[in-house]
């Protein structure tokens, strides 16, 4: 609990983030927050931008190979209740999406970055299909687009010391997978929903 509060405060201090909800409200219902990915701090940033009751129910999805290395990272991952997903070893009925569906049960929400890896910052890369399969397996989940602005300047790729500029996190209106909507169309629509938040 103390580490959680401490982490939240540190993340907010470094990122100077202003949090905005556009046509959308914080809620404890089951949701998938999907965001553009530009920096290592993104996970903690989105997580700490949520109000405490929502945050308690929300688990960021993170790569197991990265977050289980070393001494600090596993402890950090544990304190923000991360869901570590193995992206190297994928078995039948053990796909990342299956794991996610099983882990969230009927209570938790998740934070994910559908670009797969970090993009350079200016543009948002193509979305991987995970979001589509997740939406297909659990059509009841609200999909909330999230746009993170300026984090690529606070902690760019390959740098380890952050520069404390100001950033913003914008949560947008929920979307759902339409019946019989093809995968590429859906992924484009989801990506556009994130990009649209850049303008508002």
């Amino acid at each position: 609990m103390i580490t959680e509060t401490l982490l939240t405060w540190i993340a907010r201090a470094i990122s100077g983030a202003s949090v905005r909800w556009v046509e959308s409200q914080p809620d404890t219902c089951q949701r998938v927050y999907f965001a553009n990915h530009t920096s290592h701090l993104d996970v903690i940033l989105v997580w700490s931008a949520l109000p405490t009751p929502v945050r308690r129910l929300t688990r960021p999805v993170a790569a197991k190979d990265y977050w289980s290395r070393g001494w600090l990272k596993p402890r950090l991952a544990k304190s923000f209740n991360a869901m570590l997903i193995d992206r190297t070893e994928i078995k039948v009925h053990q796909s990342p999406v299956d794991l996610m569906v099983r882990e969230i049960g009927r209570t938790h929400s998740i934070i994910m970055f559908p670009e797969g890896g970090r993009s350079s910052g200016e543009s948002v890369g193509e979305f991987k299909s995970g979001l589509y399969y997740l939406a297909k397996k659990r059509p009841d989940l609200e999909l909330i687009p999230v746009y993170i602005n300026n984090m690529n300047r606070i902690l760019p790729r390959g740098e380890f010391l952050p520069v404390p500029l100001l950033s913003s996190v914008t949560f947008g209106p929920p979307l759902w997978l339409e019946a019989s909507e093809p995968k590429p169309e859906f992924l484009d629509r989801a990506r556009d929903a994130v990009l649209r938040l850049k303008e508002v």
């Binding site: 100077g16 202003s18 602005n149 300026n150 300047r153 790729r157 520069v163 500029l165 100001l166």
Partner: protein
């Protein structure tokens, strides 16, 4: 602390109380004749004034704490400034030094009263270091433009602002009963904020010829001149509380503060316009952020400090 100074501080606090009361009363009134934005602008100025007054009243007790608070304001302003400025990854390391070395160092040197060092730390050492550090990274794309932006940010937000708390350590001639370091800072801040408010007021009432419509849609020649004249007059009225021996000196210093302060707010508006208000609105919440509240102080402080030092200072 002498009696005059106590009366001066008391008077300012009383007037601020009245202004706050009037501002809040106007805010609650529903009348189409009132300009909402003007009232909001007035209220945020008064709020900032309260804040600065509190910071400086602390200086009477603990000068070090006032320096620390100004350092925090500078850090936050720098943050806003650099956020509005497009930098590239090649500037990242240079920016790290700017935030975590030069900014604290400048205020530490002010606190230690090392004038010989803090007056050159940023214009000489940081100026050269930023350029060299960015060059080491090896990205020459728009190089001059990028380093100039970082240098400008550091100069305005940190170097210029640091001269306000530096007034606490300025020794002037005739260390008579009328002189008190925190009193000097209090006098300075009061005149800056008063001139800011007076210029804004006259611009709204008599503004006919705008100075630069595209930059500031309110500031006019009439406003600045009438504001500067009334600030000079205010200096005469405040002679009893002023650190300067003669009334015309106080008045002239008030005039210097008013004109540089006006130049400061116009320049800062130009910088913000250049970066586009869209981006600033995204990051900086409330009334345009810290930067627009300190713009006139940033310009007036170093000029006021050096003019005072030249004419009244003891080496």
């Amino acid at each position: 602390m002498n009696a005059n100074l106590i009366v001066f501080v008391g008077t300012v606090l009383l007037l601020l109380g009245v202004a706050t009361f009037v501002g809040q009363w106007l805010r609650k009134r529903e009348s189409p004749a009132l300009d909402r934005r003007a009232i909001e602008s007035f209220n945020s100025r008064i709020q900032a004034w309260w804040f600065f007054t509190a910071v400086i009243v602390l200086a009477f007790l603990l000068p070090g704490l006032t320096v620390l608070l100004f350092a925090a304001i500078a850090f936050w302003a720098l943050r806003e400034f650099v956020t509005l400025t497009p930098t590239r990854i090649g500037d990242h390391r240079a920016l790290f030094w700017v935030f975590f070395f030069f900014t604290p160092m400048q205020f530490l040197l002010v606190y230690l009263d090392k004038y010989g060092l803090y007056s050159v730390l940023i214009p000489v050492f940081a100026f050269l270091f930023i350029a060299a550090r960015a060059a080491v990274y090896g990205d020459y794309d728009r190089f001059l433009e990028r380093i100039a932006k970082v240098q400008c940010a550091l100069m305005i937000c940190v170097y210029c602002l640091s001269y306000a708390p530096a007034l606490l350590y300025l020794r002037i001639e005739e260390q008579s009963s009328r002189y008190y370091p925190a009193g000097m800072l209090f006098f300075f801040i009061t005149i800056v904020l008063a001139s800011d408010l007076l210029e804004w007021f006259w611009s709204r009432v008599y503004g006919r010829h705008l100075i630069a419509e595209k930059i500031d849609p309110v500031m006019s020649w009439e406003g600045v001149l009438a504001g500067a004249a009334s600030t000079a007059l205010l200096g005469v009225v405040l002679q009893w509380a002023s650190p300067f021996p003669d009334w015309w000196q106080t008045s002239a210093m008030a005039l210097v503060i008013a004109l540089t302060g006006a130049a400061g707010s116009l320049t800062m508006s130009a910088i913000k316009r250049d970066r586009g208000e869209v981006s600033s609105g995204n990051f900086v919440e409330g009334h345009g952020g810290v930067l627009s509240r300190i713009d006139s102080i940033c310009f007036a402080a170093p000029v006021f400090y050096h003019v005072t030092r030249y004419f009244f200072g003891v080496a």
